[in-house]
């Protein structure tokens, strides 16, 4: 069996593994970015306790490697008498890492919002929450979009770490194929190509979006 036949034979299960990887990425982003926004607001809060709690969550989430976070969730939840599935642990761990990182990008975006437009909104008698919702958050998020897209690529790659907590994503599939067939180089090459097919256009898109956003202002 030549390499291409080998790849062809294993492609269906590799594709299923890639499906899991993408699902984890999407889940981590969909849950993590809104939480990241809340953390960013918390870190910018005037309430000291809230600020400290949020800052601690962010710093720990950014300081600890994603793999360590996954292990803590995977081995920690059973200690609390919970026995979630590996997939649930993966969602929780990756979401935490995502919200910690994205909160910093979003906070940077919020800080870049021109004070003049905020002041104008206040002068127009808009209530504080409206100013946040209609003026500060939309402008701040827009600024953060390129870094959030860059982060999305990184977290997509980081989903491969969930293999270590028994999630059947594409790296785990490759690993089991390799151990059964002893054709590790070929199968991991296929995995690499599959990752690249997603990350390369995504990086290209990120650059395009970044250019467009900088042109607008």
């Amino acid at each position: 069996m030549n390499t291409f036949e080998f790849w062809g034979d294993n492609f269906p299960q590799m594709l299923a593994g890639m499906g899991v990887s993408l699902q984890l990425t999407l889940g981590a982003l969909v849950m993590g970015i809104p939480l990241g926004l809340l953390l960013a607001l918390g870190v910018s809060s005037k309430l000291r306790l809230l600020r400290w709690v949020c800052l601690a969550l962010v710093e720990v989430g950014r300081g600890a490697p994603a793999l360590v976070v996954l292990y803590v969730v995977y081995y920690g939840l059973p200690v609390l008498k919970l026995s979630p599935e590996a997939m649930t642990c993966a969602y929780i761990g990756l979401t935490y890492t995502t919200c910690a990182y994205t909160s910093e990008y979003i906070r940077g975006g919020l800080k870049s919002v021109s004070p003049g437009s905020i002041e104008a909104a206040h002068a127009l008698a808009m209530p504080g929450l409206d100013v946040l919702r209609f003026i500060i958050i939309p402008q701040g998020l827009r600024v953060a979009i390129p870094s959030l897209m860059g982060f999305a690529i990184q977290i997509f790659q980081a989903t491969s770490l969930t293999y270590s907590i028994t999630v059947r994503e594409v790296t785990a599939v490759s690993y089991s194929v390799a151990s059964q067939t002893f054709r590790a180089l070929e199968i991991f090459t296929l995995a690499g190509i599959m990752y690249a097919i997603i990350t390369i256009p995504a990086s290209w898109l990120t650059n395009k979006v970044e250019q467009r956003l900088t042109l607008r202002h």
Binding site: S114, E119, A123, A125, M126, P127, D130, F134, Q139, H217
Partner: protein
């Protein structure tokens, strides 16, 4: 309530000028904006040293004076973008004791009555011209989207920018941005408008189109407080002229009178500097 700090300090106010006592007893207020002994520090810097001022309904009050005199701070105290240390004021019938923390409802109702136009336009860059004007109407006046846009279109026509409704602020000139900012403030139907050097960031031709709009707003009966270096506007459109220096009003009265024959030497020097400029 007329017992204000002003009473003990009337001696510091030069003769012939308003003594700084808010008059809230009148059913039909004679003044739309009344400030009494407004004082403000930035740290140890005493920026407003008990400023008192009265503006009648429909009056255009121009405020001039050298840089650092406290003109912007004074305007920003009127809509409480800055928090004064002490003093009191009545704005469109609402009494405000400036020494106290303001409650949220009072703050918002004050700002609803007072529009502000900034030197740097301060449009919302992520919204189209129309949405800049429609958003505050929807959120503050609870107008529907359709009402807000209809009203917005009327205002854009009034400032001559109906064709720019769908443009983003970055795509139009500074003068056009400032006219949109005026329309945006007018959309909330304020009782008074504050202008802080609305043309200072603009080339002369663009400044002119903004001044034309301001003149039209003035002739519609709007009460206006205008910090400006445009002496022609102050002379021809303004009803009242206030000269500030070093946190205080040093002279005020009829613009024509002050410009041709200022009572204060400092005013004379300032006018000479501005006019020769």
């Amino acid at each position: 309530m007329t017992e204000t700090i002003a009473e003990t300090q009337t001696e510091t106010v030069p003769k012939g000028r308003y003594s700084g006592k808010v008059d809230i007893g009148l059913k039909t207020p004679k003044y739309l904006v009344e400030l009494a002994q407004v004082s403000k520090h930035f740290g140890s810097n005493h920026v407003l040293k008990g400023v008192s001022l009265r503006v009648k309904p429909g009056e255009v009050c121009s405020i001039i004076g050298p840089s650092g005199a406290g003109k912007s701070t004074l305007l920003r105290c009127i809509n409480l973008l800055e928090t004064p240390d002490s003093g009191n004021m009545v704005v469109a019938g609402q009494y405000v004791d400036l020494g106290k923390p303001q409650d949220r409802r009072a703050l918002l109702s004050l700002r609803r009555n007072v529009g502000m136009v900034f030197q740097s336009f301060n449009l919302f860059p992520h919204l189209t011209v129309m949405d800049n004007i429609a958003l505050p109407q929807r959120r503050v006046l609870k107008r529907t989207e359709a009402e807000a846009k209809e009203h917005g279109m009327e205002l854009l026509e009034r400032v001559g920018l109906a064709d720019k409704a769908d443009s983003y602020p970055a795509k139009i000139s500074g003068g056009q941005q400032q006219r949109v900012a005026i329309a945006r403030a007018l959309a909330l139907e304020p009782k008074a408008m504050l202008f802080d050097e609305p043309t200072s960031a603009l080339d002369p031709e663009l400044a002119q189109e903004v001044l034309t709009v301001m003149k039209e707003v003035a002739s519609s009966g709007m009460t206006m407080l205008v910090v400006t270096h445009e002496m022609n506007f102050a002379r021809n459109v303004g009803d009242h002229l206030v000269v500030m220096e070093d946190g205080a009003i040093i002279e005020e009265g009829d613009p024509e009178q002050i410009m041709s024959d200022p009572a204060q030497e400092r005013t004379r020097q300032f006018l000479a500097a501005v006019i020769n400029h």
